[in-house]
Symmetry: D2
Subunit: 489 residues, 4 copies
C-alpha cells in the first residue's frame, strides 16, 4: 500500500509558530520560553498566578499493553476532534525517551494523522529534560563515589550503594559493571550498573513535584545507600547527607517546566515527564496535567499502558497525590485485538469470527466494569477501526458494552486525524456534561516521606535498561544537508 | 573586601532580549532559533548565504596555563572595549563543560565585569550541545557492543575496541570499568572507560565540521576498534561500518549550530564548541569563528591555554584547516605572574622586586618573539593590572617589550569591564589598521583521512576524565523557589 | 574439665611404621609407596591382581547432618572394636579437605580416642591428592582460556564457559571474579569463579574411576562450556576436544592410588577421596572401598552426612556404580539429639525428659525403617553415650527400636576408643553372620555418558566455596622448632 | 636422526632405591622420609646434628640465558663425572615448577644422558613443595580478605593490598582479575592478580630460611599491604599482624626439607627450592646447598641463568646470606652460540667461521674476567661440544681463554653422561686442589628486615605469570594404563 510513514506525514505539516499556539492556549508571553520556533517551555508559576477554574479531565487508557504510541494516538486524535467540536482543548502527554528511538522501529509522538510535532525534535533531545535528569542522577552518583574516595566521613559501605547511574540509551552492556578500577587514584572498585533515564527515581520525583522547593525537598530525601555495619547498625544515606540537592535542583530547574508543542491540527499539547510505566506511575507530570486543566476546557491525557496497570496507577498514585478526578475515561479496544484474545491466529484475523470475538470480549468488559463500578467513573469504549471489521462484529461489541451501560464508538483517528474522532468526541462531551455518579477520591496532596514517595517492587523480569535489537533503527536514521531527518520511523 | 562574586555581578545585569542582540549583529530572524529569551542558535546556512567580507581576527592567548576563564575574561573585555570604541564586534568563545562546574570553584564564562550572560545557563546545560555530543558518542558505543552481541558480523575484537564512552561529569570512578557483566544477556565482558565529553573525538569533529555533510563524512570515518586476528590481519572498524553516522548526525544537528549570547555590555558573543585543550585543538568551533568574522568588523577569539600550546594549536590546526589568519595577537601577562616565575613566593608578591621581574620576563618575551618572528603576526601584550604593581615594574615590563618592537598596555577589564580595556583596544585597532608583514598560512581546507583529522598522542599524565575535589562546588550550589541560582562560583 | 584435645591425643600415640600396618592388612610391598614413615599409597593394581573373596561391608550413617567427623568417629571406633573382637578389619574413609581446616575449629580425622593418625598430615597436605585435583582442574581451565586466546578454533563462547577454577581453601573472595583483564595479552575478560577443590567434578570423577583408562575416559567427557550461536546451534565443548585428558590424567596418576594410614589402635585405614557431600555422592572412593573389602574380613565405611542424604547417595550412586552391597548398616544417634529434636532447648538437655525423647524418636525410626524396609538391609542403632543419659531414656529408645526389629546399643568410642565399641561390634558381627533378606541392588558398572556420570542440581543456597569465620582457626595454628604442630583443633 | 627423547632415556634407567642413594650419601635413616621408592625428604636437623667439614663448592653458570635445563645438564653431568673420578659428590639443584611443563616443550630435570630421575615425578608434583607454597601464599591472601570482610580492624585499604594470589600454572588469564564480586556476602570487590608459584615471595623466603623458627620469623615479616590514609599516615600490614605465620609455617613444614633423588648414574642429587630467576635470587635453597656440602666432598650446584645475572645473584645474595664460597666456577659456552653472537645466522652455524667466533668471544671473556677479577674465583670454561665444531674453532676459543689464564675444556655430558665430562671434572679437581686467590666474601648470616630480605625491583617487561603457547605441551602428554607417562618432553 501507499501509506505515508509517520515522519513523512509529520514533515508535510505546516506548523504554526509556537507563540500562536501559546496565544490559543491563553498563555501569557511572560510564561513562555521558546526553544526554536516550534517548542517552548511554560513557567510553572503560571499555575500559582492563575485562578481560572479547572476544565474537564479526560483519561485515555487501553485494554492491553500495546505498542508504544497507541494510547497516545487516540489521546491526540480525541484532542483534535474536541477542538473540531469547538472546544478549547489542551492535550497532556508523556515525553518520549531518546534511547529507545535507536532500537526497534516505533515512535512515541503519536502515529498516522494523530501526532504531535515537530516529531523529530520531540523524539530526539526535545528541550533537554531527559538530559537534565541524567545529569542530576549522575552528579549524585559522582558525589557518592567522590565522598568515599575523599575519606568517607559518612562511612558509606561501597557494597551497599543502591543509587545506580543512568543513561538515556538502550545499552545492555551497562546493566552490570564494575567501576573504580585502575588503582587507588581511580576511585574504589565496586559493582554498579546503569538504568535507562526514564527509570531513574529522579524522573518520578520530577513528575510529582509541585515547584522548586518541593522538588528540592524530595531530592534531598533520596536514599543512595547504607553505612557499614551489621544489619542493625546500618543507616540509610541520603542525597541530603551529601549536600547534593541544591546542585541537582539547579540542574533540573528548566526540566521542571512543562513543554508546549502542537498537534498536526494545531491543538496545543503539553508534553512533559516520561517515567517508565513498569517501574513508576508511568504518566506525564502532575504539573503538565494541572496546567492543561487550567488552560483548557478539556484536558485529554493518557495513562501508561493497559487499563489494569496504567489506569490504576493513574488513579491510585497520580490522582491521589495531585487531587485529580477524571470526568470521563476512554478505554481503547479493537475488534481484531479481541478476536486475537479469543483465540484467532494473526493470519486469520481478516475473517469474521463472532465466537472468537465473544470469547475475547470479557477482557474488555472487565476493564470497563472496573472503571464504572470500582472507580465510579463515566466511561466510553473507543473502537479502533480496521477495514476488515464486519458490521456484525461491531454490533456485537457495541451490544455487549451497552449491556454494561457503556457506549462503544468507532475511532478512526490514526487514518483521519480529528475528523476520525468525531463520534468519540461527541460521546466524551455527553459524559462530561452529564452529572458525575459519586466518585470519591478527594485526598489532596498526601505527603510521603522519601523521594518520589512510593515503593517500587522490582519483579524479576523487569529490565530497567533495555538493549538494542539485531537491526537497530539507528542504522536507518539519516539527516540530509538541509537538516531533514529520515528513517526516524 | 567587598567584591561581588561573578554570579552576583552577572545576575545584576539587565540583559537585552536575544533578538535585539541578533539584530545588532546583523543576523536575519530566519537564521535564529531562540532557547529562552536570552540564548539562541544561529543556523550555519547563514555562512553560505552571506557573502560579506570577513572582519579582522584578533587572537587572545596567555603566557601560561592559567585558571579557567582568564583568557576568556580578556577576550570578553577587549570585545566590550572595541564596541565602546565604536567598532562592530563579535566575540567567539568556547562553551564550558558542565562537569567541572561541580568540582573546583571557578567559572568558564569570563569573570568580574567581563562575562557572557546568562552565566548560569551557559555554565549548566546551555543549549544542550554537550548533551548531544555525549549522546552521539554513547550511541556509537552502544551500537558497537550491540553489534558484537548480535553475532559480530564485522568480527570486532572486544579487547581492541578503542572507542570509549563519555559523560559530561568529573567522575574518576568511571575512568576504568569492566562492563557487559551479569551473564550472556548483558553483553560481553570487556574493559572500557569514560572520558569527559569535552575529550570525545566527536567534540573535535564538531568543532572542525563545515556543515551536515562534512560532519557526517567525518563521523563515518571515526575508528572505533579493530578486528580479531594477528597484527597483520587486523582491520580498523569505523562508525561507517556500523551505519552509525546518520543517527549520530541527526543527534548533532542542532549542536552544529553556533550559540548567540551577549556580554555584560551587550556585545554579541558566539559561544560554541569546547574541546579539551590538552587532547584536542582546544579552541571554539571553526564555524563560530567564521560566523563572527562574517558578522563583525572585529572578531575577538581565544586560544586554549598558554601561548606555547594554545596559540600554536590555534595556528597549526585550526587556522590551517579553516584558512584563517589573525590580524593581531594579544598575549596576556601580569607583573605578579612574571615575578612569581622569577622566584618570588606567593606571600611576597606585593613588594616591588625588579630583579625577580627581570628574571621572569624571558618567559613572556619568548612567547612574544614566537608570535612575531615565527608566525610573523602583529602582537600586543596585555598587562592584567593589580593594585600592587609599581610604576617601576610596569615601566620595566613595557621597556623590555618595546625592545622587541611590541607595545605592552595595561588591561583592567576584570575590574572595570570594557572601560578597563580602552588602551588595549586602541593598540589592537592600530595593529589591524596597519599593513600585516608576510604571514603565509594560506592552506585552505586541508583534507585528512579520519574523524577529526589529527593524531592525538596521549602522554602518561593527561587525564581525560577529571575527578571531583574533597569539597565539591556542588555542595554549595543552590537554587531558590524563584529559580535564582547561588553558589555557582 | 581436663579433656585432652584431639591433637594432644593423636600426638601422644606411638604409631607403628606404615610398613607394619601394610603387612597386617596383607598388602605386598610391591604395591606400597611410602610417604614418610606413617603414610603410604597403595597401587590400584593390587585390586586386579588379587582374587581373594570380598569381606563384609559395614556402612555407618547418622540421623542428621552432624558436625564434621562424627560419622567418622563411630566408623573408626567400630573398626577398632572389630579388631579387638579378633576380626581382620580395614576402615575406608574420606580424606579431609585442607581448606576448611583454617576456618571453624573442627577436624576431619575422627575425634577423641577414635582417630586416624598422623592426624596433622592427614588434615594438611596428606599425600597431595587434593593438590593434584586442583592442578588438573586448573590446567583444564588454563587450556580453555589459552585456546580462546590462541584463535579459538573450537569457537568457544567465553560467556558460556561452565568450567570453574578451584582452590582448596575457604575463600569467599574468589566465588565470583572477572579475569582476563589488563589488555589483550592477558587473555579475554570474562566472568569466572572458584569452587573449593572438594566440589570439583574431577573429585567426583576420581572417586568413581576404576583405573587410569577409566579415569582418562571420564576426564575426556567433562563438559567445559558451549560454542557461540543460538540455542539450537550451540555445541558442548569437552576436555577431550581440548586434548586435555592425557595431561590431566598424568597429574592424577598418584592421586588415584588409595592412601593407607592407621587408627590410634593401629587398625589399617584406607583414606581416599573426599567429594563435597552436598554436591556429589559424598563418599570415599570406590577403589578405596573395594580395596578394603578385598583386604579385610570386615570393611567399615561411612556415608556422607545424614542417613536420608548420605546413605541414599551411598546406596543409589556408589553402590549401583560399583556393585556393592552392605552387609549391615549402623545408624548413629544420641538421646540428647533426639530430645533436642523433641523440643528441649540446649540448656536443658541434662534433665531427663521422656516425653521430648518420644517426640524426637520418629526422626530416628523413619531412617531405620528406610534401611530395613526400602533397602532391605540389616540394621543396628549406635547410641552415642553421654553422662547425662538416664536409664529410663536409654530403655525407651531401645524399646522403640526393638519394636521395629532393630537393636540399639551403646557406643562410647569417642571417650574409650575400640573398647567403647564392644557392644556395637558384637551386634554388627551377629547381623553379618546371619543370612541377609532379599537386597536386590545388583547392577554392575552402569555406564554413563559424561565425566562423573550423574547430574548435579545446584539449589540456590549451596555454596561451593566456603568462607572463613571471624576468628579463623588459622590464627591459632602453630608449629614449634621441632616441627610439632599445635592448635590444629 | 634417531635420538631418544629425554623421557625415553629417563624411563630406560634402572633406578636404585632411594634408601641406597641415601646410604651412599651418608644420610642416616632417621633423617629420611620416603616419598615412594625413589624420592625422599631429608630432615634439616641433619645439618645441625652433623659437624663434618664442608666439601668443595662448584658453581656452574652459563654465558647467556639459555633454554631451561642447560645449566642443569652440565651440573648433573659434572657431578656424574666427578663420581666417576672417584669423588664423593652430591649435586644441589633447583626443583622445577609444574606450571611451565604444560607450556613450551622443554624439561627442567636436565637433558640427554645427564638427568635426575624419576624425571616425571620431579617435573610433576615431586614431593609437593610447590603446592605447599601455593597453599601458604593463598591462605595468607584468604586471611587478608577475610579480615576486611569481618570488620577490618586493621583498617587495611583494599586498594593497597600488595600481596597477590599464586598458582603453579602458566595462566595469563589470571594475571589481572577483579575478585570479591557478586554482592556483600562474597567479600569486597578489588583488583587482584596471580603470580606463578615460583614468583611468590614465600618461595624466596623458603629458600633462605635456616629452620622452622627462622622461616616463621621471615613469614611474619611479609608485608601484605597498607592501611587507609594519606601517604604519611599509611602503615604497612604484615602477615604477623594477621596472625598468619603459624598456620603458614605448619603448611610449609615438609616443604622446608630438601629432597633427595639420583642422577641417571646414581649420583645423589638434592633438588630443593625453585625461585624465579628473574625476580628472586634464582638458586636452589640455602639448606640444600649446605646439606650437599656437608654430605659430599664435592657439591656441584647451578646459578640461575646467565653468568651476568645468575652468578652475580648467587654470589651477592645467596653466598652473602649463607656464608658460602665457591671453590671453582664453571662457565658453560659453545662455539655455535659464540658464532651466533658474532653475527652468523642460525642456518649457517654449521660452517667454520673464525672471524665470527672472534667477534662473539668477548661475550664469554667478559664473564670469565668478572669471575676471575671481580670475584677472585678460580674458573674453567666448559665448551658444549657439537659435531659441527672444527678443530680450528675450538683451538681459537681455548687460546683466547688461556690468555686470560683460564682453561677451556670440551664437555659432552648431554650425549655421553658422566663419561663426557671427564676432562671438565679433571680441571675442576685441579682448581679445587690448588690454593684459592683472596676471595673475601666472609659475611655470615647478614640479617635483613622483611620476608625474603631483599628488594625486588620489577622492571616493566618481566611477567610473573607466564602464558601457554599456541600448542601447549599438555596436549601431547599422556599416561597409559600401566602408569607410564609419555610426551612429557
Amino acid at each position: 500500500m501507499n501509506y505515508k510513514s509517520d515522519i513523512e506525514i509529520a514533515q508535510a505539516c505546516t506548523m504554526e509558530p509556537i507563540t500562536r499556539i501559546a496565544q490559543k492556549a491563553g498563555i501569557d508571553d511572560r510564561y513562555l520560553e521558546q526553544y526554536g520556533k516550534y517548542k517552548a517551555k511554560i513557567n510553572y508559576s503560571l499555575l500559582s498566578e492563575n485562578d481560572a477554574p479547572d476544565g474537564k479531565l479526560i483519561l485515555v487508557t487501553a485494554i492491553n499493553p500495546t505498542p508504544a504510541g497507541e494510547g497516545k494516538t487516540t489521546t491526540i486524535g480525541l484532542a483534535d476532534a474536541l477542538q473540531r467540536a469547538g472546544k478549547k482543548v489542551v492535550a497532556a502527554l508523556r515525553e518520549p525517551s531518546l534511547g529507545p528511538i535507536f532500537g526497534v522501529k516505533g515512535g512515541a509522538a503519536g502515529g498516522g494523522y494523530s501526532q504531535v510535532v515537530p516529531m523529530e525534535d520531540i523524539n530526539l533531545h526535545f528541550t533537554g529534560d531527559f538530559h537534565a535528569i541524567s545529569t542530576a542522577n549522575n552528579l549524585l552518583a559522582a558525589l557518592i563515589d567522590n565522598h568515599i574516595y575523599q575519606g568517607n566521613k559518612l562511612n558509606i559501605d561501597p557494597r551497599r550503594i543502591t543509587w545506580r547511574r543512568c543513561m538515556d540509551m538502550n545499552d545492555r552492556q551497562l546493566r552490570s559493571v564494575v567501576d573504580g578500577l585502575g588503582g587507588k587514584s581511580n576511585g574504589t572498585p565496586r559493582e554498579d550498573g546503569y538504568d535507562i533515564t526514564a527509570a531513574s527515581e529522579i524522573m518520578a520525583v520530577l513528575c510529582l513535584a509541585d515547584d522548586i522547593d518541593d522538588l528540592k525537598a524530595r531530592l534531598s530525601r533520596l536514599v543512595v545507600g547504607y553505612t557499614y555495619g551489621k544489619a542493625s547498625e546500618q543507616k540509610p544515606v541520603t542525597a541530603g547527607d551529601l549536600h547534593a540537592e541544591g546542585a541537582m535542583c539547579a540542574l533540573l530547574k528548566d526540566a521542571l517546566k512543562p513543554n508546549l508543542v502542537q498537534t498536526l491540527e494545531h491543538t496545543p499539547a503539553i508534553v512533559h515527564g516520561g517515567p517508565f510505566a513498569n517501574i513508576a506511575h508511568g504518566c506525564n507530570s502532575v504539573t503538565a496535567t494541572r496546567m492543561a486543566l487550567k488552560l483548557g476546557d478539556y484536558c485529554v491525557t493518557e495513562a501508561g499502558f493497559g487499563a489494569d496497570l496504567g489506569a490504576e496507577k493513574f488513579l491510585d498514585i497520580k490522582c491521589r497525590m495531585a487531587g485529580l478526578t477524571p470526568n470521563a475515561v476512554v478505554v481503547v479496544a479493537s475488534v481484531r485485538a479481541l478476536k486475537h484474545s479469543g483465540g484467532v491466529s494473526l493470519g486469520e484475523l481478516d475473517q469474521e469470527n463472532l465466537e472468537a470475538l465473544e470469547r475475547g470480549l470479557p477482557n474488555l468488559l472487565k476493564h470497563v466494569s472496573n472503571i464504572r463500578d470500582v472507580f465510579h467513573l463515566p466511561c466510553v469504549v473507543a473502537v479502533n477501526a480496521f477495514p476488515s471489521d464486519t458490521g456484525a462484529e461491531l454490533q456485537l461489541l457495541q451490544q455487549k458494552c451497552r449491556e454494561l451501560g457503556v457506549n462503544a464508538v468507532i475511532s478512526e483517528v490514526w487514518a483521519k486525524g480529528g475528523e476520525g474522532g468525531a463520534a468519540l468526541a461527541r460521546e466524551v462531551i455527553r459524559l462530561c456534561e452529564e452529572d458525575n455518579s459519586g466518585f470519591t477520591v478527594t485526598v489532596r496532596n498526601l505527603k510521603v516521606s522519601a523521594g518520589a514517595g512510593f515503593i517500587v517492587a522490582l519483579i524479576g523480569e523487569i529490565m530497567t535498561m533495555p538493549g538494542l535489537p539485531k537491526c537497530p533503527a539507528a542504522e536507518n536514521i539519516d539527516i540530509d544537508r538541509s537538516g531533514r531527518i529520515s528513517g526516524l520511523f
